[in-house]
């Protein structure tokens, strides 16, 4: 099993550009999550999904969009990138709410200049 796969690993964007961070899991997990981690800080939840077709906002959703058309994929879209979105982005998944064991992807380091 590959677990949770994130692409790309690194990206530099110019202000105002857009991009999609990809996240795929092969564990048939229902719950998926996107977090951002700023230097020296903890994890902040951006969006999450409890199943295909269902998404909800987390703590810091502004400037981001998500979709969940399949169980496996949970892409994060950045529109009109801003320097404040410079961060490391982690995708995670868990089987369910009752079994909340997290598996994290390896992260995407994004710099907006």
């Amino acid at each position: 099993n590959a677990g949770v796969t994130q692409t790309p690993k690194f990206r530099i964007l110019k202000i105002g550009q857009s991009m999609t961070l990809q996240c795929t899991q092969d564990m048939n997990h229902n719950y998926m999550y996107w977090y951002r981690q700023d230097p020296g800080m903890g994890l902040k939840l951006i969006y999450y999904s409890v199943g295909a077709g269902i998404t909800d906002k987390g703590e810091v959703p502004n400037g981001y969009n998500v979709s969940r058309s399949t169980t496996e994929d949970f892409p994060l879209r950045l529109e009109l990138a801003a320097p404040s979105q410079t961060s490391v982005y982690f995708c995670a998944s868990s089987l369910s709410g009752m079994d909340g064991r997290y598996t994290f992807g390896s992260g995407t380091r994004l710099t907006v200049v």
């Binding site: 903890g42 079994d99 909340g100 997290y102 598996t103 390896s106």
Partner: protein, 110 residues
Amino acid sequence: GIQVEQSPPDLILQEGANSTLRCNFSDSVNNLQWFHQNPWGQLINLFYIPSGTKQNGRLSATTVATERYSLLYISSSQTTDSGVYFCAGTGSGGSYIPTFGRGTSLIVHP
């Protein structure tokens, strides 16, 4: 949602020393987990420990959910233990979205 407080925020050890990291919650906690973020940024799930005690090699964890805390023990620390340790848990109010602590930064010197 619940509040999560981790202590200490920073810890510096000599190789071979033992340590205890603590995680306090503002309410009864479910789905408690401990993670290690290594110096390269990778997040590894160490323990899924809603209650009781588990051991994995030199690491062990104990959760007392009704007392709203969990402890992570590291024995005979090694330089590879360096990194940041996070705990996370869900409250009993029906939300299944975990809240993460701010982490304990551990440096183990050879």
